[in-house]
């Protein structure tokens, strides 16, 4: 019996045959061509393009609002504040970027008379005058486009004009203009704009003269504008609203007047909050219809930096391309000792940037990113816990090194201690663990000894951390290493290294505190310590169990109060937590930016500040107030040491650890030196696209024999089915019917 449905179709269908043949040819051509798994267009092969990724879309690209590292990865390359950090030098050193030189403040007393730098407490105001280099130009942008008569093309648009506009690329004309001091002033004024929530407005209100009142002025003017023309057409041209403390001196000079002394202002001047904003851009994006099209400063930055954002599809990819108007900027010719040996001075004096284009792809998960890095489709990678064992091993000396697999690929490893700290804090307002009595101090100290952070780093951070001895991490002025730098209340110096005090010592402290055997000597009840925390994954459970075990060593019971993020934050704000885990990432490399975390008037519960432990010691506070306005001198160091000793004695934190960053990069990636402070590091990086192409081709040859094998298996497995089918078809109907039942 023949079955028509099983007969081959190609003999009678020439079109289908041709199509199949074409497909087959295409397949064969593909096999012989480059890697099949290349996620990038073939036209990009061999080009000077760096590939990176982002896991979630940046919320803000407006420099006045942006305040997170994933946003700075983009805007740091686009916006140029007046100052920057030297790419190579350590400790971190500020240098001019668009400024002619580092500004030095002039000091004034309350009567407005200039006084010397040694004016001390008499200093009522400091004035910083910043001179901008002439000739710096903005990236091409429609906001600057002008017609033949020199009139702006796109600053008086109506909704009708925007009918066919969906992105910036839909504006056919672009223009540029020179950077002037007015642009920097404009941006500082934006700190007080009623429609922008700048995270540092509150802080700057305390320092920049007149900023607080300026916010009220703008709020009033905004209301009037809205009443007059409606919200969608309202626009405040900030040039028309003077700000007392920030003034344009001349075309290339502006001044900032701050209350008292505030040397940290220089660090802020290296952050995007103080980058220039041309009024044309503000006007351009404020036009009716722009917001509905997602065309805003939050999405399309306008800067003078080495790169400009040419594609912003946060659902897919973001692309930075070389700014054709970028001013002359050169690779540094001086670094720290050892930089030359590592090849980090090979490009000294060369014009920046080196890379033409940077493509950031949306990559939500670590595993695909890691695998693509191994295939050569990403140039640099961190090391996630999923891939740690595959990438890193520890030598007998405990040093992190690459596994043979990584070395065989020519991958290199860079480690650096981050300018941040991860710690456990005691709520100093808590009646049990808080307070400043000797009993409470001893209890905190006993717990600090019991919680073995060396073990924590090894188990939960894959060794990527350095046990902390105090609040200031390495690389920041005030950090003291070695024997002199250990916390003598928690560590001993043994055989040339710090050693945590014994559990027996912790128990003794506990007895002295009035908790022998973990029981309160007054009530006889066991002492319960509550850890307030947020999180709930399997990894967190292991962490909680470990923490319970640590306190159990000194007979204390740890109760983990695990809540959702919002409730946890609420507890912290209200000062209801007892023991908590927290962290801080430096804004700038100054000890003030760490020691202020323990400054009384920064208490979280009372003052909504960043002092999460609500620590308040008048002696510490007085020293802090003195130290924060000082230059990095031996006198300042002496003050810092006294402050650190005070907090070590009081023990409001279990110091925790300074996280270590592990970076892997391929052999074609150069100038990889990590810089924790600088945001504009992309222009210093260099790649060798030819070597990358060669390695990619070598590592990604398609392997097709398993496919053929699979096909063969399918065919073979069909044979018994065909046999059964034939047998069934030949059976008498009655048997078939019975079987069916």
């Amino acid at each position: 019996m023949t079955d028509r449905s099983l007969s081959a179709p190609w003999g009678r269908r020439p079109l289908l045959s041709v199509l199949l043949a074409v497909l087959l040819m295409a397949l064969i051509t593909q096999i012989s061509s480059a890697a099949w798994n290349n996620p990038y267009p073939g036209s990009d092969s061999g080009k000077n393009i760096l590939y990176s990724s982002f896991s979630e879309r940046p919320k803000h690209l407006d420099p006045i609002r942006s305040y997170s590292s994933n946003e700075y990865a983009f805007i740091g390359q686009i916006y140029e504040p007046p100052l920057q950090y030297n790419f190579l030098k350590r400790p971190y050193e500020l240098e001019p970027l668009t400024a002619e030189r580092i500004p030095h403040p002039r000091y004034y007393n309350a009567a407005g008379r200039e006084i010397s730098a040694n004016g001390g407490a008499k200093v009522a105001y400091s004035v910083y005058e910043i001179h901008i280099r002439p000739g710096i130009r903005y990236q091409p942008h429609p906001a600057f486009a002008v017609d033949a008569q020199g009139r702006p093309r796109y600053l008086s648009l109506t909704k009708k004009d925007l009918k066919n506009v969906h992105s910036l690329a839909d504006f056919p004309y672009q223009g540029s203009r020179e950077l002037v001091a007015e642009d920097y002033v404009y941006e500082i004024k934006r700190l007080a704009h009623p429609r922008l929530s700048s995270p540092i407005q509150g802080l700057m209100n305390e320092y920049i003269v007149g900023l607080k009142d300026y916010a009220a002025t703008l709020a009033k003017a905004w209301k009037q504008q809205v009443a007059k023309v409606g919200e969608d057409k309202a626009f405040l041209d900030l040039r028309d609203y003077p700000l007392a403390g920030v003034k344009v001196v001349d075309r290339y000079t502006y001044s900032i007047k701050v209350k008292g002394r505030y040397p940290q202002l220089l660090y802020w001047l290296a952050m995007p909050f103080f980058a220039p904003m041309p009024w044309e851009a503000d006007r351009f994006y404020s036009q009716p219809g722009m917001k509905e099209r997602n065309i805003s400063l939050d999405w399309y930055p306008v800067g003078t930096g080495a790169y400009m954002l040419t594609v912003n599809d946060p659902n897919l990819r973001m692309v930075l391309e070389r700014n054709p108007n970028f001013h002359a900027q050169f690779y540094p010719s001086k670094g720290e000792p050892g930089d030359r040996a590592k090849g980090w001075l090979a490009d000294a004096g060369k014009r920046l940037p080196f890379i033409d284009k940077v493509v950031y792809n949306l990559e939500k998960e670590n595993i695909p990113y890691w695998n693509k890095f191994l295939q050569g489709y990403y140039d640099v990678s961190g090391v996630s816990s999923d891939s740690f064992d595959q990438a890193i091993q520890f030598s007998h000396q405990g040093e992190a090194e690459l596994t043979p697999l990584m070395r065989a690929k020519g991958i290199k490893l860079l480690t650096s201690v981050q300018t941040s700290i991860s710690y456990m804090g005691f709520n100093m307002l808590d009646p049990v663990v808080g307070g400043y009595s000797e009993r409470a101090r001893l209890l905190r100290r006993a717990i600090a000894i019991a919680v073995n952070y060396e073990e924590f780093i090894s188990i939960f951070a894959n060794g990527r951390g350095m046990p902390a001895q105090g609040v200031i991490p390495p690389g920041i002025f005030g950090y003291v290493g070695g024997k002199a730098g250990i916390d003598p209340y928690v560590y001993n110096w043994v055989n040339g290294r710090p050693q945590r005090k014994s559990v027996a010592e912790a128990r003794t402290l506990l007895v002295r505190a009035g908790y022998p055997g973990g029981r309160d000597i007054r009530t006889g009840k066991p002492l319960l310590i509550h850890l307030d925390i947020t999180g709930g994954g399997p990894e967190d459970k292991a962490r909680f169990d470990w923490l319970r075990k640590q306190l159990k060593k000194i007979d204390l019971e740890l109760v983990v109060r695990n809540t959702d993020y919002n409730r946890f934050q609420e507890k912290m704000r209200k000062g209801n937590a007892q023991l908590f885990m927290w962290g801080w990432n430096a804004d700038y490399p100054d000890p003030e930016n760490f020691l202020f975390l323990l400054y009384g008037p920064n208490g979280k519960a009372k003052y909504h500040g960043e002092n999460a432990a609500n620590y308040s010691n008048p002696k510490f506070d007085r020293l802090f107030e003195k130290m924060k306005t000082m230059d990095n001198t031996p006198q300042r160091l002496a003050l810092i040491k006294r402050m650190v000793n005070i907090v070590r004695r009081d023990g409001p934190w279990i110091w925790g650890f300074y996280p270590k960053q592990f970076v892997l990069y391929h052999s074609w990636y150069h100038n990889a030196k990590p810089n924790q402070m600088a945001h504009n590091t992309l222009m210093y990086r260099r790649i060798d696209p030819q070597l990358r192409e060669q390695k990619r081709a070598e590592w990604n040859r398609p392997i097709i024999w398993p496919l053929a094998l699979l096909l063969l298996l399918l065919v073979v497995s069909l044979i018994p089915a065909i046999v059964v089918y034939r047998r069934k078809e030949r059976q008498p109907a009655l048997i078939r019917s019975r079987r069916a039942r």
């Binding site: 995270p199 509150g202 990604n700």
Partner: protein, 325 residues
């Protein structure tokens, strides 16, 4: 039929109001507007003034559902619930908390979702039906037994395993397709092959078993015996008669999910870096972006209701005995 459809659409209005109310209540039960502001303003240096400003900018400074400061109807209309809900019924989704236009984002992100979901849906149904028919054809033989075992095995494996295993085997070891990523136009094809194959394989177990059960139920009916008695081959019986009559339960399951294909697949989109609506929703929940959450829940409800109406209509197409009155 038109009257039936209009009636169903009218029924949908209170359902949508209820869904919206439920979403609103659940969301604000665990997140206050202050929490939302803090989440958006970040961890560092957030002042109470900044929180107030953030809420004012986005209209979260009003009472949730009842404004005691205003009398009359205003007590209900000058609230977050009313202001954020009423525009939804005109399909005006407004702006996300980061200022992005939600309608625009949905219109952009539905295409990648559809690019995976449609082939997985169509090819998946074809593969499942074919496999189920094969098992039904070889019922009570070793092929059937081992086929069912295979289905159970396939059903028991986590979707995550298919994804990571597929990426490892096809993308990493064999270098046949990119491990993850997406592109527009025809360039998207090479990125879609692997997620589509994984989506199909991941659905074979449950789908084939379900369809096999349906086919076996049909196979024992009298009209099948009559067809066999007529001398038709087993293949002809299965494809011409059994398949047609099994279409109603198949349609029940299949048509209802067609509109929901827009909503995307969370895991596939996340692991393959495909910018669809599934990951959009999850990101919004993670970021406490109420505007997106309510828009997506509302859209999901509308699509589901639309799917149910489509299912009813499809019954009339495959079974002439059914009338929608």
């Amino acid at each position: 039929m038109l009257a039936y459809i209009v009636r169903r659409l009218l029924y949908a209005i209170p359902i949508l109001i209820g869904v919206n109310l439920l979403t609103f209540s659940l969301f604000f039960l665990v997140n206050s507007p202050d929490d939302m502001a803090r989440m958006h303003l970040g961890m560092k240096r957030v002042t109470p003034e900044a929180i107030v400003k953030w809420k004012q900018e986005r209209g979260y400074d009003k009472p949730l559902m009842y404004n005691a400061n205003i009398s009359g109807l205003g007590a209900f209309t000058d609230t977050i619930f009313f202001e954020k809900s009423v525009s939804l019924f005109a399909f005006n989704f407004g702006s996300a908390d980061d200022g992005r236009d939600i309608g625009f984002d949905i219109s952009q992100r539905m295409w990648p979702s559809l690019a995976i979901a449609v082939p997985v849906f169509i090819v998946g149904i074809l593969v499942n039906i074919t496999f189920a028919m094969l098992l039904a054809f070889f019922r009570a033989t070793y092929i059937d037994i081992w086929g069912v075992v295979l289905c159970v095995v396939l059903m028991s494996i986590s979707a995550l395993f298919y994804i990571i295993g597929g990426q490892f085997l096809i993308g990493k070891l064999l270098h046949l397709v990119p491990i993850s990523g997406y592109d527009t136009g025809l360039s998207a094809v090479k990125f879609l092959i692997l997620p589509v194959i994984i989506g199909i394989i991941g659905g074979i177990g449950a789908g084939s078993r379900w369809y096999r059960t349906i086919f076996l139920e049909e196979i024992n009916r009298d009209y099948v015996r009559t067809a066999r008695a007529k001398g038709l081959s087993e293949l002809a019986v299965l494809f011409r008669h059994v398949l047609k009559n099994a279409m109603i339960p198949i349609l029940t399951g299949a048509v209802v999910v067609i509109p929901a294909l827009f909503m995307g697949s969370l895991l596939l989109e996340s692991f393959f870096g495909i910018p669809g609506l599934g990951s959009y929703t999850i990101d919004a929940i993670r970021n406490q972006d109420f505007a997106i959450v309510r828009a997506m829940v509302f859209l999901g409800s509308v699509l589901y209701i639309f799917g149910l109406i489509l299912t009813d209509i499809s019954y009339t197409l495959v079974d002439p005995r059914i009338r929608l009155d």
